[in-house]
Amino acid sequence: MVDQKITPLEFEKPLALLAQQIELLEKQIGEGAHPELENDLDRLNQQYDQLKRSLYSNLRGIDHLALARHPQRPYTRDYLGRWDSAWIEMHGDRKGVDDPAMVTGLLRMGDHKVVVCGTQKGRTIHEKKNCNFGMPQPEGYRKALRLFQHAEKFQLPIINLIDTPGAYPGLAAEEHNQAEAIAVNLRELSGLTVPVISVITGEGGSGGALAIGVANRILMLEHSVYSVISPEGCASILWRSADKVAEACTAMKMTAREIKQLGVADEVVTEPLGGAHHDADFAAEKLREALVRHLNELTKMSPKELRKDRQNKFRRLGAFVES
């Protein structure tokens, strides 16, 4: 049954409506008023399960986007806490700023000790503001870079969790050279000799996502999206209309399955039916299993192989014709 605390999305409204009716019916039966309604209840329950399954197996790009942006979706800290309640948070870029939109730390996962970096969106209004809605400043990327270098020094694998609309487009961000912060991360990540795994847990927004996304393995949660520009941006530039977001989502092929088909993502990690926010524990466990499996594989490779593997992965990406 639907968890009533979860806010239904636009496309989930028919399901929510049905759930309401079922609840009403259950209440009436509970009061013992109409025992003959039992049959109707069974029918409705069946209908509900059917609708739910068909709804989530035929999602459009924009529906995945809505799920990826669901306000109750688990964020980086939700995963880290579930994986290792004793994970150690690290702060700051050592140059004057600690960007709360980029969470970094040390964590144990199975037999592995890893360095984690992840973007953080924030749950409450206060947190959201503090985390800049998950859009890191250049200092956030430099903080991540510091942790990458830490991992390299101590030969620790790196896990990056990505859920960001993109790098923050602001005055200070430009003055502090957002572009350079991203570019340097791309270059330095490609040169590391430790395993790097990046996971798109929600939104993978362009360069701001890629800046912690140059990895040996790229995993995507089932309803996550990854795109070169926000669908809103794409719609306003190419369609010159804010109403064409659905078209932009479809055209850009940004869902987890499509990104895997294009050879960018290596694995799509299953989410609970309806999305990770329906059962964060289950989602975190599924992701942990996948991560441990990849860590086991990658830690068998030599440092040199790991660097080469990562560079080759990105060297191959692209589609062109050579005449």
Binding site: A167, Y168, P169, G170, L171, A173, E174, E175, N177, Q178, A179, E180, I182, A183, V184, L186, R187, E188, S190, G191, S206, G207, L210, A211, G213, V214, Y226, S227, V228, I229, G233, C234, I237, L238, W239, E247, A251, M252, K253, M254, I259, L262, V264, R310, Q311, F314, R315, L317, G318, A319, F320, V321, E322, S323
Partner: protein
């Protein structure tokens, strides 16, 4: 009308029909007289009034100071307004001409063409947009790459052309940049990349984004090999190109007035809901915010590049007896 007809014909047309020398009208026989008359008629035809397009081609108005400039003079001044130093946008082929020793440029990877991996359609299908861009710009891609010499210094040179598809970086641009870097590394050549781009090419979706990683990754090996990479930022450079190879130069040069940034001005204004300073994201603004090494006028660009290449690649000359040491001058801001 802003010039006399005489001025135009003197410059352009009189040489085409010279009067036969050593002959006066009296010496002519009938045949010659007719021949001469025909020539005069031809000349008269040439003197037809110029069409508007022809005038426009002959004259260019400066976007900044509104001065009318004779196009030929403007070209000779490397498309820099002599009055206000406004730098006009120039195409990749023109840049090759401006920078390299004549005839030294050899293009590589000219045979790469964009495909349509997503089957992308907005108001028009991507392949049609590609054909239109090719027709308009006369280029097949937004990057021209190859090897050349500059004052006899061999270099690997990549030049983006904003005129083709807004200089956007798709798979082909990414691949050509990566191959150029690899070529430069293999031959141990200094690398110069001119950026001019609106960012990643949306029509190739996520694969365009991956070109940022591909080019930056190629630069990692190049960087580790101890080789010189000079990035030249030209009007305009934005988005994915800035956030990858453009900002990774050992030395970063910007052309005066060039606008360079990650996010576009309008996007930032909408996000922060306040007006930005007029000079925001210009080369000069970048210089004062520590993002580029120098701002160099186009007319001094070639000599600056040569100076920098020679500083980093040539062995110091053995000291002669004279006390005069010629130290290369690296301008903080040339011009």
């Amino acid at each position: 009308m802003f010039c006399s007809r005489g001025f135009l014909s003197e410059n352009s047309f009189q040489r085409a029909a010279p009067r036969p020398e050593g002959l006066s009208d009296n010496d002519m026989d009938l045949k010659e007289w007719f021949a001469n008359r025909k020539k005069k008629q031809e000349q008269a035809e040439v003197k037809q009034p110029l069409t508007t397009e022809e005038y426009c081609a002959l004259w260019t108005q400066c976007f900044q100071c509104r001065e009318l400039l004779y196009t030929k003079d403007l070209r000779e001044n490397l498309h820099v307004c002599p009055k206000c130093l406004y730098h006009f946008r120039v195409g990749a082929e023109q840049r090759v001409e401006q920078l390299t020793d004549p005839g030294s440029f050899e293009e590589i990877d000219a045979n790469l063409r964009s495909s349509d991996p997503l089957g992308f359609v907005d108001s028009e299908p991507y392949p049609k947009r590609l054909r239109d861009a090719e027709r308009k710009s006369g280029l097949v891609e937004a990057l021209l790459s190859g090897t050349a010499t500059m004052e006899e210094n061999p270099v690997a040179l990549g030049i983006m052309d904003f005129g083709h598809f807004g200089g956007s970086m798709g798979s082909v641009v990414g691949e050509k940049v990566a191959r150029l870097i690899e070529h430069a590394e293999e031959k141990r050549l200094p690398l110069i990349l001119f950026s001019s781009s609106g960012g990643a090419r949306m029509q190739e979706g996520i694969l365009s984004l991956m070109q940022l990683a591909k080019t930056s990754s190629a630069l990692k090996s190049f960087h580790d090999a101890g080789l010189l990479y000079i990035s030249v930022l030209t009007e305009p450079t934005y988005g994915g190109v800035t956030a990858s190879f453009a900002m990774l130069g050992d030395i970063i040069i910007a052309e005066p007035g060039a606008r360079v940034g990650f996010a576009g001005r309008r996007v930032i204004e909408q996000t922060i809901r306040q007006k930005l300073p007029a000079d925001f994201q210009t080369a000069e603004y970048l210089l004062s915010h520590g993002q580029v090494d120098m701002v160099v006028e186009r007319t001094k660009l070639r000599e600056t590049l040569v100076q920098l290449i020679e500083f980093h690649t040539k062995q110091n000359k053995p000291k002669s007896g004279s006390s005069q040491q010629t130290e290369p001058v690296i301008p903080g801001r040339a011009g």
